[in-house]
């Protein structure tokens, strides 16, 4: 076990919320440590969900749009410029029961007066048999990584939110045909993205439908689709299945310590980033299932940084005892 020098602030998670918090905290000369996560092919990775997107068109200040990974690299560079320190690992355990707060990365222990939780959310999978086994063999968690391999094939995207529609549109660059399967009769996605997708001749939609079986030996060969209204089933032979059915907050590490709602999102006090534990603040998608935008995450990251700075000012005397 290694114990590291005490810090003012530890930030866990490095999407737009964590990096914005890092920029503010570092710029206030509070030298934060950012435990940014580790590489993964899911959205639970350094940089967060935007690492798996392509063009971001609605982040203010980029009139021509910006690639998601490039935006995250720029935020990271900006935090580094002010002295934020990065650890490319996952926080594995926390103890917020006494002062200072303690955070572990495997056997290494880190302590801080303030912790900012910005661990974000990760994509849900369907939970069907064969799904996990066929990831990388026709089932994909990353359209931008894998779309290339489905050139000329018929593929399916499951979901009805912005990420499903964005993936479907992106995949038409490669696939001969993209079918969106959605369990409701309308999309949740923003209107502009829906209109763009529905106008694309390669995209068709199966409303009120659910994927109920995934079939394939060495690679995906077909799926069974069930009509949620009639209960009728049929089989679609496809080369690729992309799942974008929503997100689950990455809060396992905080279980039993930080207050959560029924869906596992961290609860913050209205109008602030305060959690139920003094000196622990939360920002970004880990505490927001309503807006879930890069800009709202960044905004709440700024709130957490300011709350953290004020908390440190008030508790400076006692914090260092």
């Amino acid at each position: 076990m290694t114990t590291h020098p005490h810090r003012n602030v530890i930030i866990i998670g490095s999407g737009p919320a964590g990096l914005t918090a890092a920029i503010y905290v570092a710029r206030a000369s509070l030298s934060p440590l950012l435990i940014e996560g580790e590489p993964s092919s899911t959205s639970d990775q350094p940089g967060g969900q935007l690492m798996l997107t392509t063009e971001v068109e609605n982040f203010p200040g980029f009139p021509e749009g910006v690639q998601g990974p490039e935006l995250m690299q720029r935020m990271r560079d900006q935090a580094a410029r002010f002295g934020a320190e990065f650890l490319t690992e996952k926080a594995t355990k926390i103890d917020f029961s006494s002062h200072p707060h303690r955070v572990w990365v495997r056997d290494d222990e880190y302590t801080a007066d303030v912790v900012i939780a910005s661990t974000g959310a990760r994509s849900l999978m369907l939970g069907l048999e064969n799904e996990a086994r066929l990831i990388g063999h026709g089932v994909s968690t990353c359209a931008t990584c894998d779309g290339f391999f489905f050139r000329g094939q018929e593929i399916v995207v499951v979901g009805g939110g912005d990420s499903a529609i964005e993936e479907a549109s992106f995949l038409t660059k490669f696939a001969s045909k993209v079918t969106i399967i959605h369990r409701r009769d309308k999309f949740r996605a923003s209107k502009i993205m829906q209109e763009r997708a529905l106008a694309n001749p390669k995209i068709s939609v199966r409303w009120n439908a659910q994927v109920t079986r995934i079939v394939g030996e060495a690679k995906l060969s077909a799926i069974e689709v069930t009509d949620t209204v009639t209960g009728a089933t049929d089989t679609m032979n496809i080369g690729g299945l992309f799942v974008a059915i929503g997100h689950r907050p990455n809060t396992d590490v905080f279980a039993g310590v930080l207050d959560m709602d029924d869906n596992g999102y961290l609860v913050t006090q209205p109008g602030s980033s305060r959690t139920n534990v003094p000196g622990v603040f939360a920002c970004g998608d880990v505490q927001d299932h309503t807006y879930r935008q890069a800009i709202t995450a960044a905004g709440s990251g700024c709130m957490a940084a300011i709350d953290a700075e004020r908390w440190l000012e008030h508790h400076h005397g006692s914090a260092n005892k």
Binding site: Q45, E89, R106, G136, H137, C145, F150
Partner: protein, 109 residues
């Protein structure tokens, strides 16, 4: 910097895999793949630390799609371990250094 990592092409792939005196980890990647970029520093660190026990090589699937197709790569990053010219293990998806070393442990003798 990249001295320890071999760049594979359609032209040198078979010869490199066959003549290696250690197991070879081939990282199938592309410029447009975010998770591929994130694991690049990880495999370069491993290349340095495991020099003599493991050979690390990279194959760009954009430039050498024929090789990717031959090994049925459908997702990147995919890392395939070769021993004596034969593919013996396939790791699909990015992961951190500790996890990758754990997955490679059986091949590191």
């Amino acid at each position: 910097m990249s001295g320890n990592v071999i760049t594979l092409t359609t032209a040198n792939f078979d010869e490199t895999i066959r003549s290696a005196t250690t197991p070879v980890l081939v990282d199938f990647w592309a410029e447009w793949c975010g998770p591929c970029k994130q694991i690049d520093p990880v495999i370069r660190e491993i290349a340095t630390e495991q020099a003599g026990a493991l050979t690390i090589a990279k194959l760009n699937v954009d430039d050498h799609g024929d090789i990717a197709m031959r090994f049925k790569v459908m997702s990147i990053p995919t890392m395939i371990v070769f021993k004596n010219g034969e593919a013996v293990d396939t790791l699909v998806g990015a992961r951190g250094k500790a996890a990758l070393l754990r997955d490679l442990a059986p091949h590191l003798g």
